[in-house]
């Protein structure tokens, strides 16, 4: 009889029982993250979509629906088309350069040498330094009057003062400059990704390839790269998404100049939507990123899944 009375579950025990269920615990744990994404990403995103379809400006915060008029205006602007093109060049140029630097950096850091741990820690610095500080430093390096890069080139006799590169004043060089700064920011992340991937490759696979006569390049391109491609693709998705939506480097270094040569979507959307107060057109410019990013991310995720199978 006592046993029957004892078998009645106490509330605390029932609570523990619920938490023991994986589905309930899982939902509880992931709940805050979903809430965060919904509130801080989902809601602003939906607002941006609505802004882009409305006549909303800071002057007249009206929500009247205008359909696709804002998108039509934006597409009709030749400067916007130039901006879209610049965004692709900036994004893929800096990702490519960042990946190349990251790959070589990872290969260097895999080999043992004195101070390797310190170098591994230092190499993360570009990623950790606040972008505003780093960009100001780069701005001085590319400065028309005080460029340390030009000073070095002149000192080495490579160029004279009069024909030294005008880094931020010549359209192609200005684009190259912002690409270099973004690649410099991105490459520590690429190094970490490559290091994680390469160290996960079983040593016996590499040893077998070496015994079979595979040299450095063959091992690199026919064994290592294919095996780490899924993890590199994940890193690349991050890089592309962050770069495609970034405006900080352009805003701090060139303000889209010279003659719009470095204007990118994020910058243009900010200037139109926030600085000039035309929120609806600013949102339309910013939302142009969405289909591009969607296609890129879906394609890369499909690629990763196929590789894993």
């Amino acid at each position: 009889m006592v046993a029957i009375a004892d078998s009645v579950p106490k509330p605390a025990a029932r609570f523990r029982f619920i938490l023991d269920r994986r589905d309930v615990l899982g939902s509880l744990m992931v709940g805050p993250a979903i809430l965060y994404v919904l509130l801080l990403v989902g809601v602003p995103f939906l607002m941006a979509v609505y802004y882009s379809l409305s006549a909303y400006t800071i002057y007249d915060p009206s929500w009247s629906f205008v359909g696709l008029d804002n998108f039509e205006d934006v597409v009709a602007d030749p400067v916007f088309r130039q901006t879209l093109y610049n965004t692709f060049i900036f994004t893929f140029g800096s990702q490519l350069l960042g990946l190349i630097l990251g790959k070589f950096g990872a290969l260097v850091l895999l080999r043992p040498f004195p101070g390797r741990k310190l170098v591994r820690a230092l190499v993360i610095l570009p990623w950790a330094v606040p972008i505003a500080l780093a960009t100001v430093a780069w701005q001085w390096m590319f400065d028309s009057l005080y460029s340390v890069i030009n000073w070095t080139l002149i000192a080495l006799g490579v160029v004279t003062r009069s024909d030294a590169p005008n880094w931020l004043g010549t359209p192609h060089l200005a684009m190259l400059s912002v690409i270099v700064v973004n690649a410099w920011r991105f490459f520590p992340f690429a190094i970490v990704i490559f290091l994680a991937g390469i160290t996960a490759i079983p040593q016996d696979v590499l040893d077998a390839a070496t015994v079979d006569g595979a040299g450095f390049w063959r091992r690199n391109y026919q064994i290592i790269m294919p095996m780490i491609l899924p993890i590199v693709a994940v890193g690349l998705i991050f890089g592309i998404v962050f770069t495609f939506t970034d405006l900080s480097i352009v805003f701090l270094m060139t303000m889209g100049g010279p003659v719009g040569a470095t204007s990118v979507l994020g910058f243009s959307g900010f200037q139109t939507g926030i600085v000039s107060g035309d929120v609806s057109h600013g949102a339309a410019i910013s939302l142009f990123m969405l289909p591009v990013l969607f296609v890129v991310v879906v394609a890369m995720l499909r690629f990763i899944r196929r590789r894993e199978i």
Partner: protein
Amino acid sequence: MGSGGNKHNRSVTRRSFLKASGAVGLAPVLSAPFVSGALADNTALTIVQWSHFVPAFDTWFDKFAKDWGDKNKIAVTVDHIPVQDVPARAAAEASAQSGHDIFGFNGSGGAHLYRKFFINLADLVKETEKKYGAVSIIGKQLGYNADDGTWSAFPDYYINFPGMYQKSLWDEIGMKPDTWDDVRLGGAKLKAKGKPVGISLGHSNDPSTTWRGLLWSYGASEQDEAGKKIILDSKATVEAVKYVAALYKEAMTPEVLSWNDASNNQYLASGVGSYIINPISAYRTIQQSNKTLADDIFVIEPPRGPVKRIMGAASEFYGIWKFAKNKEAAIEFLKYYRDNWPEAFKASSGYNNPCFANLVPKPMPILSNDPTSTPPTKLAILQDSDKWSAIPGYPGPATPATDEIYYAFILNDMMAKAATGASSAEDAVKEATQRCEAIFKKWARRT
């Protein structure tokens, strides 16, 4: 009656009491983000404005505001933010309907853009005009709404853009940069000596301001006097653009294409630049770093064009949000600030220029006799800078449309394209006109 009938039958259990008190306790926390910030607060006043280029002005202003607050038993808070953050901050405060009471705004069209968010300050402006003389053209451009006679803002000051030149260099060639032609011809001679002219063709405020001044001096402008129509595509504009192309080729170097607002200051300070157009901050900085060079740098009126002598200016105004918690104190503070404006003028070392005729009586302190300059009358010409200064939008009002044209750097690019040969002057003007018209058309639908 009906509801009262159950009153005595209710029992307050410990559980229901806890529930009720918990709900009451949580309510402010949960509802805080949705509650309007417009609840009146007569004990505090908050102000936000840019971090002034002259740090001493901020120090003076903070103390001035605090002292006023102490006298009136109001806690005054002054926040200073970087100038480039001002538009985003204003947009955030307007969207949230919450923020500072007084918003110190940089940029010409802000008062018109935020017109529906700012209270009407017509009484304050009229009272100020009675006490200190007529408001200037810049002041009117900044805050006056011609359609209903309201004032969205109280014009605080403008920052003039005089010419600055190395006198010894210009004396050597027997010239003075008095007209745009002098700048080009003399600049070409000095460029040959390794001392070019330095006026930016990049994306920043200085070229946006300077090239507008050049356009106006040629009799051209982006919009008409009523602010209703784009009139950029004109013979005068083409002539002005051709002039810039010639100036660039003959008297400047390609580095001006990359410049930001600090670059021309550095150019003059390096001793390389023979002439720039800039607020006197450039000169003040050189005074601190290189006294010999500073003594050789002279401040001159901006160049006269074929039609008139006029130059762009930067501007600052105060708006009071409709959702401000302490509007009365905000207005009282602005009155007190206005009545002590000569002190503000001195604290800014003559950088802030008044928008009312007699706000700082002439001879103006510092400008008429600056003991740090050799000769002390070096800055005297700036006392009359209201005669040759205007802000974007001139000869019409500053509007959201003219502001967008400004922030899209359309006129800068028009000049740069012609200068670098990427377009002919005619094509550059046509393209810029189309872009301006598209912006005007867009805003016409929405204002």
